[in-house]
């Protein structure tokens, strides 16, 4: 396609001054505000994680008190879940690329978009305020299970309100995206011609919209219970703690698909671009996103197999859980089939996508161990669950997040990072990640419980391996981010389309102008991934 060479003003330079950023309605600038905020919180959360691993280096007390340890794993969970991983891909890359991929100039409600960002900021301030106000951050775990969350003296109220506000930020982003996808597609782009990243955002947005309010009201009930002392959930004053668990997981299980689906969307973009080949099974991938979103609503009970549930209910929840594996593996097989006979160029984003598949496979299969009734009784609340969860969330979504950052980096900043350093950082990251989390799976099978600050001497070896892995992981992340920061400032200028992608965001300038496009974007003939020079398989 032709790229005109007229000079233009990038969205960075269109307006100047701090206020033009803080009150911007431009989806690209809002995305970058999110990016800086979210990466900062990721680093805070990661530091807390490192502290925990350091404490677990040896049995007994190493550096922190047990109570502090409880607060640290809670804050780690709250920050990583609500401030990093839920908003990460939708709020940053969704905001930046959804309008570009649809061939429009903004989301449907630009002001609402800014409001979502400020709700995020307010929620984040609430979460951080627990450090200074009251008796310190909550020590309940990020699940805020009643009755302990009603009784503990720590600042649960504020943490819970933070999650409530962040929930509304997430709902409004989802609402905005659904309307954008319905109303602002470029002429000629039917639903079945949308890029797969857009499909995954669409599925995610529906979950955000329909699941988040349930946790919102549940958390308000916790607050009311703490303030007025009426037992909805605390059995000593007549409540039912299991009811809380149901309400909590009705949201929080679908929420893990809020975290995972956009990551799958990113992988579905990266793989066809670097294989220069039409995606295999476009519709299968698109609809499996919707299927995961749909089935994901009905599996929450699998978090509660050990907390008292009738046999038939447990069996049904278990079967439904296994059903989720089907659309997920449909995606994996389609990605692999896309690579088959493609003209593959191995670049950093593709490495991240492949690592996603590898890690997510381990995470997904260990998930089935948790989902099977008998096996779950053995591994429930052990370190195995922690390992499983980090494999899907960090190994899956985290890798896809950094993959997306490397994939779209030249589009966002118009510069290219040092690929050798990026590949080195990636390799270290993959090794470090697996050294950090695989031992957790083993420890869990051996019987080490989760959320304990101490352990029996026989667990020492694997714990030390894991802590060692955490050091590799953190060094690789520092190396990766340093490489990207340097590239953002001084990297080599790149062309508008360095990866030879054909989705619409590659048809405009890098970085794009405020209006996104300087001429009408052209839809590729025969679908969004129909690469003209692809070898016919």
């Amino acid at each position: 396609m032709t790229v005109d060479t007229l000079p233009y003003t990038t969205f960075y330079k269109a307006k100047k001054g701090i206020w033009s950023w803080l009150f911007t309605l431009d989806h690209k600038r809002i995305a970058l505000l999110y990016l800086y905020a979210i990466i900062s919180f990721f680093l805070v959360g990661a530091s807390l994680g490192i502290l925990m691993r350091l404490e677990l280096l040896n049995p007994g007390k190493d550096i922190i008190e047990p109570h502090t340890y409880n607060q640290i794993f809670t804050l780690h969970g709250v920050i990583m879940i609500f401030l990093f991983i839920i908003p990460s891909i939708p709020a940053i890359f969704g905001n930046f690329f959804l309008p570009l991929m649809l061939g429009t100039d903004d989301v449907a409600f630009p002001k609402l978009n800014l409001l979502s960002f400020y709700l995020y900021v307010i929620g984040a301030l609430f979460a951080l305020a627990t450090l200074v106000f009251g008796d310190g951050p909550a020590d309940t775990g990020w699940t805020f299970y009643a009755p302990y969350s009603v009784k503990t003296g720590t600042n649960v109220t504020m943490s819970v309100l933070a999650a409530f506000i962040l929930g509304f930020s997430s709902i409004l982003t989802g609402l905005n995206f659904i309307v954008t996808i319905h109303r602002l597609r470029t002429p000629g782009m039917s639903f079945n011609k949308m890029p797969l990243f857009v499909w995954s955002l669409y599925a995610t947005s529906w979950i955000q919209l329909l699941a988040t309010p349930v946790i919102g009201i549940t958390l308000l009930m916790i607050v009311a219970e703490r303030v007025f002392g009426i037992g909805l959930f605390d059995p000593s004053i007549g409540g039912d703690p299991i009811l809380y668990q149901h309400l909590f997981w009705i949201y929080s299980h679908p929420a893990v698909y809020i975290m995972a689906l956009p990551a799958m969307g990113v992988v579905s973009e990266i793989i066809p671009t670097f294989a220069q080949r039409t995606i295999f099974g476009y519709k299968a991938i698109a609809y499996s996103s919707m299927a995961i979103a749909f089935i994901g609503y009905f599996v929450w009970g699998h978090h509660m197999f050990t907390s008292g549930m009738s046999g038939p209910a447990a069996i049904i929840f278990s079967i439904l859980t296994f059903l989720v594996a089907i659309p997920t593996s449909i995606k994996v097989f389609n990605w692999l089939a896309t690579l088959y006979k493609g003209s593959i160029s191995i670049e950093t984003p593709l490495l991240f996508a492949l690592a996603f598949i590898f890690n997510f496979l381990i995470g997904g299969l260990t998930g089935l161990v948790n989902g099977a009734l008998a096996a779950d009784i053995h591994v429930h609340d052990t370190y195995f669950v922690v390992g499983h969860f980090h494999y899907v969330m960090f190994g899956g979504t985290g890798f896809a997040f950094f993959g997306a950052l490397h994939y779209w980096f030249p589009k966002i900043w118009g510069r290219m990072y040092n690929k050798k350093v990026a590949n080195t950082a990636f390799t270290l990251f993959l090794i470090g990640f697996n050294t950090l989390y695989f031992p957790m799976l083993i420890l869990g099978i051996m019987g080490m419980p989760r959320r304990y600050y101490d352990y029996l001497p026989e667990f020492t070896f694997w714990n030390q391996i894991s802590t060692f892995g955490s050091w590799i992981t953190v060094s690789s992340i520092i190396l990766m981010l340093a490489n990207l920061i340097i590239a953002g400032r001084k990297g080599k200028r790149t062309t508008d389309n360095p990866w030879n992608g054909i989705t619409l965001e590659w048809q405009t300038k890098s970085p794009p102008p405020v209006e996104n496009f300087t001429k009408m974007p052209e839809l590729p003939e025969g679908g969004p991934y129909n690469y003209p020079n692809a070898k016919k398989a």
């Binding site: 429009t104 409600f109 954008t180």
Partner: protein, 207 residues
């Protein structure tokens, strides 16, 4: 350098269909927000059906009925105001919206007296009499205050929303051609009404 090029599908266009779709999606969220409470109500009603029945006798059915009538009437007036605006009769539309707000205020005043009476009897969570009630009745009143309170908050928000529309009509930003804000206020108001239509039988009527 400035381009005169504009995308036809710009996010900055005025698009009534977008705002209406957005409003509907928002109402789904609101519905599920109340949904959590309805679920809790269902569970505890099932577990304590007798206590819930006894406690429900302490509510004033007449006040509840009056409020129900007020809200249903206000749904009628807001719907009429939208039609009036679409037909170009701004003055009638504004008056009908004021009527709606009046009904909202009436609802809140009645609610004030209803809640006030409960406070006098010490039925609010944390008060003396409340503490001496059997468990099921305590849960009933807790849910009563929580759910009608949250609903009352929505009445206030809805009324403020309608005030904005009145302001918009006067200023000329909401016109017979651009009426989606007024339609959205109407949708929201109907939703507030609808929630009450469920709350009323659940707390006052079921025997």
């Amino acid at each position: 350098m400035d381009y005169s090029f504009h995308l036809p599908n710009s996010g900055h266009n005025f698009d009534p269909k977008s705002s209406k779709l957005g409003m509907w999606l928002f109402l789904y969220t609101e519905l599920l927000l109340f949904g959590g409470l309805f679920l809790v109500y269902m569970v505890y009603r099932e577990l304590n059906s007798e206590a819930f029945l006894l406690a429900s006798f302490k509510l004033n059915v007449w006040m509840g009925t009056f409020n129900t009538l007020l809200l249903i009437t206000s749904s009628l007036t807001i719907a009429m105001s939208i039609t009036a605006l679409q037909k170009g009769n701004k003055k009638l539309s504004i008056n009908l919206m004021w009527l709606t707000i009046l009904a909202a205020l009436g609802f809140l005043v009645v609610k004030y007296f209803e809640w006030g009476a409960k406070f006098e009897h010490g039925l609010f969570p944390g008060m003396d009499h409340y503490g001496s009630l059997p468990l099921g009745e305590r849960l009933y009143f807790y849910l009563y205050f929580f759910m009608t309170g949250l609903h009352g908050l929505h009445v206030i928000i809805g009324a403020i929303f309608i005030l904005f529309v009145i302001h918009g009509v006067k200023k000329g930003t909401v016109t017979p051609e651009r009426f989606s804000l007024s339609e959205n206020a109407g949708l929201y108001w109907h939703f507030v009404d609808l929630i009450w239509i469920y709350l009323f039988p659940l707390f006052y009527l079921i025997h």
